[in-house]
């Protein structure tokens, strides 16, 4: 039970980042600066929270910084029609180096942490309570985000517009949807959630700042968006499975110390195999065979992903 609770808590930053990128990509924009944005926002959150003593300010600052980076991605891809991969990649390198440079004097400094907050009554439920409801606001926020994102995308009219601008921007425009305006909004919202991921690391999971604090979190999140078929529920499932696999690999390390170097990399190898599997014809045909599960099993990227929308 403690193990499951640990897995759920450890997956929270990954969930924030993956869902944020899912929302961004659903609108047709790729934000490849993810990994650097998370590191920069983690540093910002730690510095802001240490200075003010408030973790709320830390989260807000982190989200603002990451949203600003996402705005730059949106501006360059929508207004300037630049290659999103190229701009995202340059921003990844820039934000990463900026985080290391600006946060240098805060390495090793102790700072505030998100306080634990058991939810009364719910945390008393046998098994489920300790696993899901004995954490803190940062972890509860990740649960809520998955449910809200899924409900918003698949059950609301604005969610339908979001899918429209990502899948068929021309058709969405013909229906009166402001394609580029929505792309701006969702890229910034997605960026802000990526910022929350950074804050969740430096103010909760690790609670501190050091170089490479969030190593590879952004790349892993990008892989999970693809693995999750741009569906928030499957993306979140991938995050929890990954953390579970990391735990299992850690347990095996105790049993087989000679294989420690191979075991630590095993989750990544499995991830590559899974992504290859979901791109096979067999997996793609599953949605046709089980129509009720089509949304959950879908693995095709949004048709308009990475493409500039130009009003004719």
């Amino acid at each position: 039970m403690e193990v499951l609770a640990g897995i759920v808590a450890a997956a929270a930053p990954l969930v924030y980042a993956s869902i944020g990128e899912t929302i961004t990509e659903k609108s047709g924009v790729v934000n490849l600066s993810l990994d650097g944005s998370i590191l920069l926002s983690a540093m910002t959150a730690f510095v802001a929270a240490s200075t003010t003593g408030s973790v709320i300010v830390g989260f807000a600052a982190a989200m603002a910084v990451s949203a600003a980076v996402a705005t730059l991605v949106a501006f360059s891809s929508i207004n300037l029609r630049l290659n999103q991969i190229a701009v995202g990649f340059v921003l990844f390198l820039l934000t990463r180096q900026l985080a290391l440079f600006l946060g240098d004097s805060y390495v090793g400094v102790s700072g505030p942490k998100v306080p634990a907050l058991k939810i009364p009554l719910l945390s008393e439920i046998p098994f489920v309570g300790p696993v899901l409801f004995a954490h803190n606001l940062s972890v509860y926020g990740s649960f809520l985000l998955v449910i809200v994102a899924w409900w918003f995308i698949y059950r609301t009219r604005p969610g339908l517009s979001l899918q429209g601008v990502g899948e068929r921007p021309e058709a969405a425009f013909a229906r009166g949807v402001q394609v580029n305006r929505l792309r701006y909004v969702y890229t910034i919202v997605g960026g802000a959630l990526v910022g929350a991921a950074g804050a969740a690391v430096s103010l909760d999971q690790i609670a501190g700042w050091r170089e490479n604090l969030t190593t590879n979190l952004g790349w892993i999140a990008l892989a999970f968006v693809i693995f999750g078929g741009w569906n928030p529920l499957r993306v979140a499932l991938a995050c929890y499975l990954y953390r579970g696999l990391l735990f299992v690999a850690g347990e095996f390390q105790v049993e087989f110390p000679d294989w420690i170097q191979v075991l630590t990399q095993l989750p990544f190898l499995l991830m590559i195999l899974m992504i290859t599997l979901i791109n096979t014809e067999w997996f793609r045909s599953l949605g046709d065979r089980y129509p009720r599960w089509r949304n959950f099993l879908a693995s095709a990227q949004p048709s308009g992903l990475g493409q500039v929308f130009v009003r004719e």
């Binding site: 340059v90 390198l93 820039l94 990008l222 693809i226 170097q261 590559i272």
Partner: protein, 157 residues
């Protein structure tokens, strides 16, 4: 075996993120021949990356060390972006980046300034060039003389 996990820990998550782009050509509607040609190009690029790794191990460090790549893969992408996908420009730009890299270590030794400042400068430089290029192209579009504004699709693979 020691350097392997250090390198693979960085490599594998990125490979996982990029494997989708490696294996999804068929799904994008390319026929078998076009897909094979594209895949062959991708593996050729990876082969050149192998040459870079070999030079690092056998001609520069003369041994295997953790993080032997030194972030050169990322730096190479910046060089390509700055060169505007023209091979002839990659050599002088690569040389410039090498000078900045060497200078950054001196920066921390002599002036006690964090060496990551060099990375910040490189990032700002490349981003500025991209944005200015995009802005100029936008002005051309507005003026009615459209120019190439989006990098070739090949760059996204």
């Amino acid at each position: 075996m020691a350097p392997w996990p250090a390198c693979s820990g960085r490599l594998l998550p990125r490979l996982a993120a990029l494997s989708h782009f490696l294996f999804s050509d068929r799904a994008r509607g390319l026929d078998v021949r076009a897909s094979r040609v594209k895949t062959a190009k991708k593996f050729t690029r990876l082969a050149f990356a192998g040459v870079a790794g070999t030079v690092q191990a056998l001609a520069f460090h003369h041994k295997l060390v953790p993080s032997i790549s030194g972030g050169y893969g990322f730096l190479a992408i910046l060089v390509v972006l700055l060169a505007g996908f023209r091979a002839v420009w990659t050599a002088p730009i690569g040389l410039f980046f090498a000078a900045v890299l060497v200078g950054s270590t001196q920066l921390s030794l002599r002036l006690d300034i964090d060496s990551s400042l060099a990375g910040v400068m490189q990032g700002i430089l490349v981003l500025s060039i991209l944005l200015v290029g995009g802005w100029q192209a936008r002005r051309s579009r507005v003026a009615g003389t459209d120019t190439l504004t989006v990098a070739p699709e090949e760059g996204s693979g």
